[in-house]
Amino acid sequence: MGARVLVTGLGTFWGGRVAQTLEADPTVEVIVGLDREAPKIPLERTEFVKADQSYSILSRIVKATQVDTIVHTFLVVDSTRMSGRTLHEINVIGTMNLLAAAGAADSSVRKIVVKSSALVYGSSHQDPVWFREETPRSQSPRTRVERSLCEVEGYLSDFAEDNPHVSVTLLRFANVLGTDIVTPLTKALDLPAVPFIFGYDPLLQFVEEDDVVRSIEFTLRHDVPGIFNVAGDGRLPWSEVAAICNKPQVPLPPVLTNWAVAPFSRLGIIDLPPETVALLRYGRGIDNRRLKQAGFDYGYTAAGAVESFARAQRLRRTVGDSRPAYTYDADVEAFFRHSPAVVRQPE
């Protein structure tokens, strides 16, 4: 594993968890985290740098910290969280700036790991049952988040070609389920009745959140350049996912579904972006064998990820949702990290 690591999206769910994992490894000397927002989980030695959404500060940071590894977790895959414009800014322009910094003539960067999404395959009736990493998508991307991710991947493959001395790993994750993560699908599964499109019962595939972090760690630890799908084994129908969560289902109309969903989205009842509606119609499967062949061991199957989510959901129903107790305070963090008053235990 690289000794000096830059994590983008430190304030996000994934960035924070990756940084936590890196902190546990004594061979990692320096961890620098970049984000627009402060981290939401306590970190011991990660240095947080506040950046704007397009990461214009990045080339200076890379030069100043001489990082050898960049973990790019800050790709937005949930389009319900922000406007299309912001999403484009973060995904496309942010990645462009990141690659520009990493590809500078005197750059110290030797490894880049990017967390992308199976959204780049889309979801259409012309899809194969399983997408391999090489399989092209069946229809051109229509939603903003899909277009932006496809653009990002285009930049990355150009970058990998132009910089053969940098090991570039691109991970495409299936829909994530687990104990903590919140996505449009988990929000749908948290409703009193789970929406489905009448007449369709698509096969979905999931990856557990632990496996997400572990797979990122795995690619950091091993030299595995290339594109990898990350998803638990098997697929299961959406009706079965609802059944495992012990929820009844409520039908959405099979025609003009996006229009029917729109007023509910506005009211904040159902939050189903168009790419999720497409998924609930046709499903998606990605072939996870390449990462397995590289040596990664999945902790959960797709059904296991659903079970993990269902257990956490049942627990939450009893003990309630926990509210944030940790807030990042720059002065406090700086004190603990840098003040001579703090007695540091030698390693």
Partner: protein, 298 residues
């Protein structure tokens, strides 16, 4: 690369972790060791053996007593290993696919996956039912995985939609076999092609004429007006077949002496093989029709 750390287990039960809000509580429990959470038997292809069994039970009387299906040469279908079954395709709503799938599954006890146009998936309810009872979209990747990796029996109709769309006056005249994609599928998967000639499907639901303008409005591949519609009305006529006698003849399997897993195969070879199979199938059909004394009694 740094020092290898022992692979972290995903079950640090005591390690506090980020929760939904970000608070530190030991929400992370040991991984569920309980039994498989699966509740249904739907496989990766969307097929459910329960649903298939139910469909078989419902369909068996139709197979035996309505169509009175008789097979010739069933032993030529391999009992082990992958094989691509191809057949002529007919009847406005094709009656031949269920007959072949049911027959092979009953007699050989092997599942058959039927490849169909992607369009099926877009139809609510029907698409899901088709998938649960063994239908798979005709994508080369799907065919390869089924045939090569899982060594299954796969049924495909090389005429595609052009077969069942033809009107009654063109019955038993094979359409073009696409671009020979089915031969390429079999070559890449390294499996034989087993052609089956089907007699009876054409008369079970004959198309009198088509209404292309209505098809366009409804977004369906073709809109047939069948003799069944005239006889039984627009609704019942869509699902009720005439009791034509079904005879199926399995031809000798065709193997190709080419290496599997190639990126591409000689187009001329593919076209030649496809045409060869088409000619043989057509000749067999004519032979069977010449021997047939009655449409209803065989």
């Amino acid at each position: 690369m740094g020092v290898e750390k022992p692979t972290p287990t995903p079950t640090p039960a005591t390690t506090p972790d980020a929760t939904r809000g970000g608070e530190l509580v030991p929400l992370r429990r040991p991984r569920a060791t309980a039994a498989d959470p699966r509740l249904s038997d739907v496989d990766e292809w969307g097929r459910s053996e329960h649903m298939r069994e139910l469909a078989r039970q419902l369909y068996d009387p139709i197979y035996r007593h309505w169509f009175r299906v008789e097979w010739d040469g069933l032993e030529k279908i391999p009992r082990h290993g992958g094989a691509l079954i191809v057949a002529n395709h007919a009847g406005a709503i094709p009656s031949d696919a269920p007959v072949i799938m049911h027959g092979v599954e009953q007699e050989l006890g092997r599942p058959v996956y039927g490849l169909a146009d992607h369009w099926f998936k877009t139809v609510p309810v029907v698409g899901t039912m088709w998938s649960r009872t063994g239908g798979v979209a005709a994508h080369p990747e799907n065919a390869y995985r089924l045939l090569r990796e899982q060594q299954q029996l796969v049924l495909v109709f090389p005429e595609g939609g052009k077969g069942p769309a033809k009107t009654y006056d063109e019955r038993y005249r094979l359409r073009r076999f696409g671009r020979g994609g089915f031969v390429e599928m079999a070559m890449r998967a390294g499996v034989p092609i087993v052609p089956i000639a089907v007699v009876g499907a054409e008369e079970s639901m004959p198309i009198l004429f088509r209404v292309p303008s209505l098809a366009k409005i409804l977004g369906v591949p073709y809109m047939p007006v069948t003799a069944n519609h005239l006889a039984f009305g627009p609704l019942l006529g869509t699902v009720l077949y005439f009791p034509a006698k079904f005879r199926l003849k399995v031809l000798d399997p065709v193997s190709f002496d080419v290496a599997p897993d190639q990126e591409r195969y000689s187009k001329s070879r593919v076209i030649d093989e496809a045409e060869d199979i088409r000619v043989k199938l057509q000749a067999t059909l004519y032979e069977m029709l010449a021997a047939r004394k009655s449409v209803w009694f065989g």
